[in-house]
Symmetry: C2
Subunit: 404 residues, 2 copies
């Protein structure tokens, strides 16, 4: 027999989504607690396209140390203060309910075996840490049957990776900077569910890039410490934009949503450029995507699309489903239908597009080849739901990790 | 006989230099008077490399309308409010001294013929308007034998092109924003003559670029009106930097001068990126130059060079003569000795350089080809003098324009 033990293996499995901020998180006021200098807001992206799948399990059969495997590779939990912080917070919550109800199994005392996998290549340059920590926190919370709400759990996920707190909910999610020194009011909140504005689409242009210029954790601290413009963004610019974009979301006012999104991406990258030494995440391909979006909006005569850039050269272009032909159709005509990614979920609306929605002579001719040469794949997706419990476990009933 | 007239032709000819700002002028508080939102500071570049040559002449023989020819092409003075403003200001000053001294010839009543030429290709993307308006104002002031100082004349040149006011003096020149509504205290002043710190060198990397993204006159107003970060730079950041860089110049403190120069270039371009729609002047080649400068400084272990970028992709790299091999030598090794421009003035120090001053394995390998492919020529120059009166007129004794 492979296993001589009769101890049970407890399991819970969840998926968690990626989110892309429209008001960017950049800068910590407390590095240990991952407390941000400003509030941020994101759109949760559909797990039909991008998701992390994580099984949390615990058993007295397991060796005493907690383990974590990501995409088949064992992770060194002990050297990750962030992971340790999440797990110890979750254990403490389980311990509390065990203390209150002696009929509960003492799961908090058992070693954890956590197995996680992404359905998208890390090479795509998408921030996988948000989905990863959200899935880890959600899976362990489910395993422990914790009563805490996603809002409460976001306080824990935040300590894993700041933006992870926004991946615990679907739709349109704000992360409030909070005011308390202990971070207890620095939480994610649903501004509107996906069902409020389900027509939101996101087209990711994956730009072939060298290694990232500066990792975001390091980059944001450089900006906080050195940029002459950073405090203005954090203290004066973002609070106004948060109010305005939440209103735009409530009113499903795409042009307003789009302008704030683009402006905040630009302001964020401006503070990076103003850092010392300067940080550049956008490159000539990114800039071509910026021009394309402005050219499409100009040609159409209304704002039908918006770009945003995280800490890398990839463009994320938001638009509404009804404008798919104008936006995704034009991009497809420029890149070519053979670009990887057009055949994924959400492809119905552009599956049969053969001509650009916007005539290409309306687009700055200099950018066409820059985009065609510089974009290696697309990811066509849209607003989606938060974490979902599933039965497709990555740990067997007897506690073996399943590696795909 | 070609001319039947016996009226005299009065002539005066001057050269004027280009200047490259280290604290950038960007934004007008008064568009008509060309009053800036912030003070700026520049280094006047040697006329051995780059200069405008302008002859101002006047004669009763001439047709009644003033004329201006630039590089052999007649300019439409009447549609240039800026040129008209300069000429009418200069005429008024001449008129005043004629009124006070009846023995003076009534030159202010005579038509002007102004002929101007640059010794550098406009394709180089160098701001020629500064040298052009400085030369025009200086030449007419000489023709009229005006007693006004360069500082006084800078008030007039400023109305032609803001940065022109700084080209009326050599060395290190500040343009004070001033406080008065009529602009009478918005003047250029010599912070230090070229002789105070003659070792300053400037290496211009001319980047093959498409048409400029947005002309600077339009771009700066877009920034003033739309950037959320602009006011912080103009009101809080620049005043501190002006004080600090003037001190650095007085102390010939290159590392301090360099850091302020680089930071202000970055802050300026950050406010461009933060404009709406965003303005991009730097491209991937510009960014490679930024990285190269940081890599050289890191490899050498002290700050030996500084980049700055105007409203275009060209890099200007400042360094001191003693560090020529480290800076220009390294650039020459990267670009190749056959790049146009290495054989001009100031080339002595790098004429025999065959190996880079900094080993190329100390430089980010990604940028080497970007620079080699993207830099079309270099201009090797240094700090220099202000306008110089010369006898090489571009108008003959009989009033004919000489077009080379």
């Amino acid at each position: 027999m492979a296993s001589s033990s009769s101890q049970p293996v407890y399991r819970a499995t969840t998926t968690a989504p990626v989110n892309i901020a429209v008001i960017k998180y950049w800068g910590k006021r407390d590095v240990t607690l991952n407390l941000p200098t400003n509030s941020s807001l994101s759109v949760t992206l559909s797990q039909r396209s991008l998701r992390t799948l994580t099984t949390a399990s615990c058993s007295a059969n397991y060796p005493t140390a907690d383990t974590l495997s990501l995409n088949g590779k064992p992770q060194d939990i002990q050297s990750s203060k962030r992971t340790l912080a999440c797990l110890s917070n979750l254990r403490a919550l389980r311990q509390a309910i065990e203390d209150a109800d002696s009929s509960l199994s003492k799961l908090s005392a058992l070693p954890l075996r956590i197995v996680s996998e992404n359905n998208f290549p890390t090479a795509a340059g998408l921030a996988s840490s948000a989905a990863g920590f959200a899935a880890l926190v959600r899976a362990v919370a489910n395993l422990y049957q914790l009563p805490q709400s996603p809002r409460d759990l976001s306080r824990i996920a935040r300590q894993g990776s700041g933006s992870a707190c926004r991946s615990l909910m679907g739709g349109y999610v704000a992360w409030r900077t909070g005011e308390l020194a202990d971070g207890s009011d620095s939480l994610a909140e649903e501004v509107a569910p996906a069902s409020h504005w389900p027509e939101m689409r996101a087209l990711v242009l994956v730009v072939s890039a060298e290694k990232k210029d500066v990792p975001s954790t390091e980059g944001m601290q450089t900006t906080v410490e050195t940029s002459s413009l950073f405090a203005t963004r954090a203290q004066a610019v973002v609070p106004e934009r948060m109010t305005a974009i939440e209103e735009a979301i409530q009113n499903r006012d795409f042009p307003r949503f789009a302008e704030i999104t683009m402006r905040d991406s630009n302001t964020f990258h401006a503070t990076c450029l103003d850092s010392w030494p300067p940080i550049f995440y956008m490159n000539d391909v990114s800039r071509a995507a910026v021009r394309l979006v402005h050219d499409i909006n100009r040609a159409v005569g209304r704002t039908v699309c918006a770009y945003t850039f995280d800490a890398g050269p990839n463009a994320v272009i938001y638009y509404e489903e009804k404008d798919s032909a104008l936006v995704a159709g034009t991009v497809k005509a420029i890149l070519g239908a053979d670009t990887e990614g057009w055949d994924g979920p959400f492809n119905e609306s552009v599956a049969n597009v053969t001509a650009p929605g916007v005539a290409l002579d309306q687009v700055d001719s200099r950018i066409l080849n820059v985009l065609k040469d510089g974009v290696s794949r697309v990811i066509l997706t849209g607003v989606g739901e938060g974490p979902i419990s599933v039965k497709e476990h990555l740990v067997t009933e007897t506690g073996e990790a399943i590696i795909h």
